[in-house]
Symmetry: D2
Subunit: 384 residues, 4 copies
């Protein structure tokens, strides 16, 4: 046994319920555990096996104006190129030790690209997506296929595809990236490959519709040449006009008496993989919510964490003991089992409809596939 | 934004490839990141997104004689009861900060029960199993069903079943527990419930065959009353006599020219859920290996980690840069992507056959279900 | 044993390879078989277990002009109402004994509804769809949801949904129905319920978009309120404009060098269930083909049968020993394992593009789900 | 359109509810339909789309003593060899026109092999099994693996495996074969290949345990070298001792108060594929029942048909309007949706336990996979 000279294990015997009586023999036993790299369950069980999830993460809000201001400054100071790879700036949950983790499993960042810039090509096992809260002019190039990015568009990017970005516009553009970097870091599944430092002139083309969209972008229609379930979605952009209309239709159907919403005044859609109807990414679920003016959602707690970005409208968000006013672009994180409730502002919204629109991503696929998913809607009878 | 007064984020600007030039403006930007709880990708990418998994864990061996000696002392000093719940002592990987983690996802512990003792009833979402390297006399009581434990037996225990243990023998008994505690701790999916402090006299019965075994313990035969895929195996013990014969048959079939082994001289079986043929637990794979006398297995690297316990025989194990002689009961951990090779001792074994028998558990189901599984067998041409 | 007085079994002993010598004892044995309702394999095996499928059905073409003329006469003579249920006239394969079977598993019919007529509500386990080759003005009302029908639209109708039809136009309308009536008749799985004799005035509304389309008609977007795999597609119409554009895009992508077609000049799409990416109906696959001007498809043989309707253009179709010139609306059947090849007319088409468009339905899901699917593309080396 | 000179379609206009008024014009229309090979729905719907399955098949009993006597005579008169392939004699349902169909989907036959005889090697897409009600001494050789056959053994044989039979004993042996011949004949999916006319001397070996059993015959244990779901079971024999004990255990568990049976006094097991927990064959379900002395099962009706063979004991079987006394070896068929109830004789059984043991096979996998399965247990309130 090649134990290190100083053991990282350090045990303190304390009196208490379920604990052994502190005696010299017990102290001696604990020194033996330390020497042999052992830790007893009985001193750790309260933290390791709690009655319900007690997240290491904390609810937190990041204001878009501040994110954008800092990203803009980075645009001037930080080059985009091989090595650093991306001008991406990640949300660091305040209780996760300063690591670039929005939650224990999720990465959320603002990415920023200056006019004419290319972000170099690479591929990695981490599953990713982009979502655009404002602006346009960047094309993501996936395996040579140029995908335009515009306000409201959602672009999934399953692991191990070559991809680069190109800003074809005359203005900088910002968007958000979501990845499962923290999860893959913890379970140690990551592979990464550098691709070409520069993409070709041909790939600087700015097609209005990507090849992906032309093959997979029709509802319920699959190309026979590419039939078969895939781990990640072959549809590489989900256009805002579809998302918007789908949400509007749900609220109209509800008004006509036909349901369709998840609760009164709360429309919600999920982005899905057309080859199998599952989530667009193996580890990440992505959804969009529209909460009608003045509506308050029921508080729901769920295993796993989620990150939201306000797309439009204004309102108030409550996560556990935290509560914030939110407006366009603001991002917040909901840790595991913390109840979330959202109110759309009753008046004074600067959007036409007065609805509050939110983009959401979370790690629910992990939990569902591993038989660990639970959700609970709080009602008056629940203990606070 | 309710940032803490002292940010946990701390950034240091350094010159280097892919890094921005260090200027006062950059320092100012980094202070802004810290204040707003942001971390750039470009300073972290080398660690976060490596070219292949570089495990935080270290290969390590724990000798059974030492484990058993310490567990025996705990038997005299540490009571088993409500609060501490179990007299279980976990392997703490030397490079994981003293936490009771054999690897970033797996818990492995020796559990010890004195004659006549009961471990109190509880249930938890953590998936668990027991494996018995020596001894007998304990019954695990799962939802009231008493399961005997004897040398070589493997007992899966999927999450959220009530269970307790009872030592009906006149001697102490030790066994090992494997769980996904670290994984569930990281992803924050854990629920835990206390059950009865004492199980009933009726549950102190010592049936030779459990109800589970009587319903599900016949090859290829399912009770029509309980048809349907379940997340965890309804078969609650996998008896040594079956495992032993299955391994012996593989080596015989190979000798007769019909294959059946995973490589020459290396028999391997997987414990499976009879309702669906999948792994016995949603997050943990369990296998048994028999390596014929003098055989050396090919070095294999795999995403995810595994823990082995030597069941019989002796040999030499190499994991990455580490190498150990092993004998009965010894346990070792193989971190993600570290190559593992095992040699069965060519002579001098104290077992009849001279084969080296090893029980293995790992976290491969996570990776397979999330499209993250990779495996690679090293050959002469591979870079060292 | 309650054998009928006259056995339906009738055996004739004949000399031949693999056959027993004809003797009085053998004749006596055969009389015993007949009496006891037994049939030996050795007299039947050649027919029952052929080297490859030899279909009982025959390739056949039905001309649309004749179908439509007869349906129009039926419109004047045959009422639509409870009992007869539908003014539907089915293709009867010439070698299936006059039964209304296009093939041993598939029903194909022209249905005809006069202005203002309602077809009464019912539901049945038979899976169905409608496809519109010309005209418009009928709404199918499924569980109260009105679905418009226009040229090119495809409307799946999975088993056991209540449905009725209403012609809101001032002209008659014809379309085709496909069902698995013969299959369900053979395996005896059919249930049928009468619904309301007349649908309500409210259901005579003529919405441009159905509720189904508003919930499920956006590419890759699912309503969170209705997540979950369903046996039949919840999307109740697949609009022509999407089908048309998807086919056009495939031919363009091919021209640009990016593939997408199933073979050069041959675009093909499959209608899929957005909840799981599978076929829209549990027993029926539906596809659409566009064959560019002058292109000839490779001859392909497949287990199972299919029915095609020409949607646009003209060309020549060869099925086994049969060959026909085809134009808009014509329908033909391809029996199991009969090679099919199609040529789009090189010139003189009355469609703009000169392409030949065909709608197809077949029974491939049966074969795939039961591990019986085979397909083979004939090449020069194959025996004719 | 190449219509035959004499159309197989023949339509008769009749007055009646839901039918058009019989006029010369209608007669003329019907002649047009006949000429163009068309059949209207309105004249056929009552037969084609009934309110519930009305089977073309009839409940029927075949007595084993008669089957065996005729098979024995065939043993003397009919050679086994290439062309006829098997000395198998099939049950012909009295209402299926003398075809060798026990039901519209299932083939059931007695097969008979004389001492020293070989049945030649072949393979076919039809899924098959053997079940042994008495005797022993034959080995089925599947892909070169010799599988012994003894009383109570069940041997599945999924489509497209090479197989032959060899009688190594000094006495004739009979057993039953079940296949999906009628189903595959109707849907036209059949392929058939002749193999070697004679199997090798080496394959005349009479191993006590097959290779299949040595790899797959341990409960919940899979060989790592062959992991993966397969369409047919890789376990090629299910030994009587396991079936017997599993059934006995269920009745004991019920007596002890723990359930396990499908209804009081009625134990039932299903043979399953250990790679996925599904049925052993893609199209056929196989089960075994033990009905305790004096017990009467609840009448159950199910979509699809089944065939039973009495394995031991005696009793009375009721299927729809038919009822028979049954004893060892007797076979009966239960058509679709006909209620089945079985009473085990209260006394006078020649088996020790007094239980009635029955082997069952049916076509339920078809229905389940195609979303067509229904079952209903009749209670006092149901219409007779």
């Amino acid at each position: 046994m090649t134990a290190p000279t100083v053991s990282p294990v350090s045990l303190t015997a304390v009196d208490g319920p379920g604990q052994p009586v502190v005696t010299p023999e017990l102290e001696d036993l604990y020194r033996g555990f330390e020497k042999e790299l052992l830790v007893p369950l009985w001193t750790e069980i309260g933290d390791l096996m709690p009655p319900h999830p007690r997240s290491k993460a904390q609810p937190h809000l990041w204001e878009w104006t501040k994110l954008l201001e800092l990203a803009g400054r980075a645009g001037n100071l930080v080059p985009v190129g091989r090595g650093g790879e991306r001008r991406a700036i990640a949300l660091a949950n305040p209780s996760l030790g300063g690591k670039p983790y929005a939650s224990p499993t999720l990465w959320a960042a603002i990415q920023y690209l200056m006019p004419g810039e290319d972000a170099p090509e690479h591929r990695h096992t981490q599953n990713a997506f982009r979502f655009v809260v404002e602006g346009e002019g960047v094309w993501t190039v996936v395996e040579g296929d140029g995908i335009p990015m515009r306000r409201g568009d959602f672009l999934p990017q399953a692991g191990w595809n070559w991809h680069a970005h190109h800003n074809a516009a005359s203005a900088p553009m910002a968007w958000i990236d979501g990845l499962d970097i923290p999860f893959q870091y913890e379970v140690e599944s990551q592979f990464f490959d550098f691709g070409r430092d520069e993409i070709s002139e041909a790939e600087h083309a700015t097609p209005d519709r990507s090849r992906s969209q032309r093959l997979w972008g029709y509802p319920g229609i699959a190309p026979v040449s590419a039939i078969g379930s895939t781990a990640g979605s072959p549809l590489l952009s989900y256009r805002w006009e579809n998302t918007d209309r789908a949400l509007a239709d749900q609220l109209l159907l509800e008004k006509e008496g036909f349901g369709g919403t998840v609760e009164p005044g709360h429309a919600a859609i999920r982005f899905t993989n057309p080859t199998n109807g599952a989530d667009v990414l193996p580890t990440i679920r992505t959804q969009f919510h529209r909460i009608a003016r003045g509506v308050e959602t029921a508080p729901v707690q769920t295993t796993g964490s989620s990150v939201y970005q306000v797309f439009d409208g204004a309102g108030r968000v409550t996560v556990g003991q935290f509560s914030w006013s939110v407006c366009r672009g603001d991002m917040f994180v909901v840790p595991s089992w913390q109840p979330l409730s959202i109110v759309s502002e009753a008046s004074g919204s600067d959007s036409d409809s007065g609805a509050l629109d939110l983009f959401e991503f979370n790690d629910a696929p992990l939990f569902e596939k591993l038989n660990l998913y639970r959700t609970h809607t709080l009602t008056a009878g629940d203990p606070s």
